[in-house]
């Protein structure tokens, strides 16, 4: 298939992956004759799952490319738990918190955790597995602290415990500006960085002689990926592995590592996967065991995928 057709199809899929879930939600609420209030709730929930999928997938692509590491996303690197810890701390310390304050705190917490993971990984060996190990340490630290804080936070904010695994149950119209901000961030990141990240994947010296500043690119990519993912965490909690899995599926389908195509396809896959998971957990699973957070379902699918990647990574080294 020519490159032009690949581009057209990828972007058509991306647009469809955003519009179709919204149409589906409208049609379902109309056919079921549900009141407008429920439609508004479901419609917002659909928008958020779709856009959160877009943001987390893009963030995963950007982090993998900029760190030249196929085993990472915002969750593995500890950004998610760092952001959540910051959210809990803010909820605990401040009497009246706005969503802006929570988002800002999450961004600071997420970026700090990312910085700690990177510093530790680089001081070990800088290898891809060093990032995973360092990320596990940082994630455990902040997850542990978050659970400790949860005892106090849960009494103040009912949905706090659900945020540990990421959920869209408490979708409200007020979340929209923050989600849109995250989407704008990753879109700007995509346009400015996709071509540069391609070059970065080939090595720092190679990138520098082509006129791409590796350190500046890595810094801006990490900030964009870290902040956008943290904003999602601040609104809906930690959704792990989505950003890890979708770039790999996109690369596998496209047979290329080109971020100009991989990022939009991963975004489309992320939104489809998250919307489907959330809809299933809302509609089917509710009837069996009650509503399961979408983040838990995604983790259950994503974690085995991560383990397969890890095995392939080490087989590659041995053979």
């Amino acid at each position: 298939m020519s490159n032009k057709w690949k581009i057209i199809l990828v972007f058509l899929f991306l647009i469809a992956s955003i519009i179709l879930p919204l149409l589906y939600t409208r049609v379902i609420t109309l056919t079921e004759g549900l009141p407008e209030k429920i439609f508004t709730y479901r419609f917002h929930r659909a928008i958020y799952t779709v856009l959160a999928g877009v943001v987390l997938a893009a963030s995963g692509c950007i982090l993998q490319a900029t760190l030249r590491n196929p085993l990472v996303d915002h969750y593995v690197l500890g950004t998610g738990s760092g952001a959540l810890f910051a959210v809990y701390t803010t909820l605990l310390l401040l009497e009246h918190v706005t969503l802006w304050v929570i988002s800002l705190a999450a961004a600071i917490g997420g970026l700090s955790a990312l910085a700690i993971t990177v510093l530790i990984a680089e001081s070990i060996s800088g290898g891809d597995v060093a990032y995973v190990l360092s990320g596990i340490g940082v994630t455990s630290l902040f997850s542990g602290l978050s659970v400790l804080l949860l005892y106090y936070v849960a009494s103040k904010y009912g949905y706090a415990s659900l945020m540990l695994t990421g959920t869209f149950i408490h979708s409200r119209p007020e979340n929209l500006p923050y989600i849109l901000l995250a989407v704008i961030l990753v879109l700007v990141g995509y346009v400015l960085l996709a071509k540069r990240l391609n070059v970065i994947m080939l090595g720092d010296d190679h990138a520098a002689q082509l006129g791409v500043n590796p350190n500046l690119t890595r810094l801006s990519a990490s900030i964009i990926a870290g902040v956008s993912a943290s904003i999602i965490v601040s609104q809906f909690g930690v959704i792990g592995f989505l950003g890890l899995v979708t770039p790999h599926i996109a690369r596998f389908i496209l047979k290329t590592s080109d971020n100009r195509l991989v990022v939009p396809l991963a975004m489309a896959l992320g939104s489809t996967l998250l919307f489907t998971t959330d809809t299933l957990s809302r509609s089917i699973m509710t009837r069996i065991i009650g509503e399961v957070p979408a983040g838990a379902v995604i983790s259950a699918i994503g974690a085995p995928f991560f383990l397969i990647l890890l095995i392939r990574r080490f087989r590659g080294v041995i053979s």
């Binding site: 490319a65 391609n198 994947m201 080939l202 010296d205 082509l210 791409v212 290329t256 590592s257």
Partner: protein, 283 residues
């Protein structure tokens, strides 16, 4: 013409002086070789010319300070050493070549021009069959050719190659030597190598480094006459032999004195005649 004046490079991390007061002038459109043992500053000199390191002193490209034309330099100069090969990110040979057109490629997506040029270079270097392969699936020799193709795909006027002959078998080395000589009429090439034979059959001009200092610059003929320079730098005996138009630098085992080389040749000649007479005797 590429020149360096009073160039000094100090690695801040360990305070090592990698280049000390280097003054060189490299003629255009020929192949120049940087020779020197490990840690003599070959890679540092190439990176300095490519403006990839901080240095004191002046590097001039065609009479202009390289620092002042950095944007233009990224289009016309290629520095190539290695390419990272992270298997699971799925980088293919085609990807490497497309991405390496970064400074000359217009627009956000890959253009028809980019693709056309990539396929031309791939064909020239015999990589057409490998374009869809991942980097991790290539042999070391194939990867070396991809690295060279990546350096050429933006059509540079200056090509800096850090050990382009490493990992290559004999056939590929000869091919590379011929290829570089062929394109050197259009491109100024500076390369570093550890192989004096490859250097002497490929390069017209030489820079010899020892512990960060330049100990020789000059055309090949001059170096071939003064092999003592290499002997003092490498602590190995060298000789130069001529085979028709080819002039070859040959490192020698310490124990073999240069005078013995002729005798060895005679010896082998005698051995052959002895064997052949012996064979005849058997009949």
């Amino acid at each position: 013409m590429i020149s360096a004046r009073n160039v000094t490079v100090i690695y801040r991390r360990n305070n090592i002086v990698a280049l000390r007061d280097v003054n060189i002038e490299v003629p255009s459109e020929i192949v120049t070789c940087i020779l020197g043992p490990n840690a003599s500053g070959k890679t540092t000199l190439l990176k300095t010319i490519a403006q990839l390191l901080n240095y004191s002193g002046v590097v001039e490209i065609n009479g202009r300070d390289a620092k002042s034309i950095i944007r233009e330099l990224r289009r016309i100069l290629s520095y190539s050493s290695t390419i990272e090969k992270q298997d699971l990110l799925g980088v293919t040979v085609l990807d490497v070549l497309v991405y390496s057109r970064y400074p000359v490629s217009r627009g956000f997506f890959t253009s028809e021009d980019d693709i056309k040029r990539v396929y031309e270079i791939a064909e020239k270097l015999g990589l057409e069959g490998l374009l869809s392969r991942r980097l991790s699936e290539l042999s070391a020799g194939e990867l070396q050719r991809v690295v060279l193709a990546a350096a050429l795909v933006k059509d540079p006027r200056i090509l800096l190659l850090d050990e382009p002959d490493s990992h290559l078998d004999v056939y590929s080395k000869i091919w590379l030597s011929n290829f570089l000589r062929e394109i050197s009429s259009r491109v100024t090439i500076i390369l570093s190598t550890h192989d004096p034979i490859f250097a002497s059959i490929t390069c017209d001009y030489f820079i010899v480094l020892s512990r960060g200092e330049v100990v020789f610059t000059g055309p090949r003929e001059e170096l071939l006459k003064n092999t003592g320079i290499l002997e003092s730098v490498y602590n190995v005996s060298f000789t130069s032999i001529s085979l028709g138009e080819l002039h070859i630098l040959l490192p020698l085992n310490q124990n073999i004195h240069r005078d013995k080389l002729v005798k060895l040749g005679e010896q082998s000649h005698r051995d052959t005649s002895y064997n052949s007479s012996n064979t005849r005797g058997d009949h």
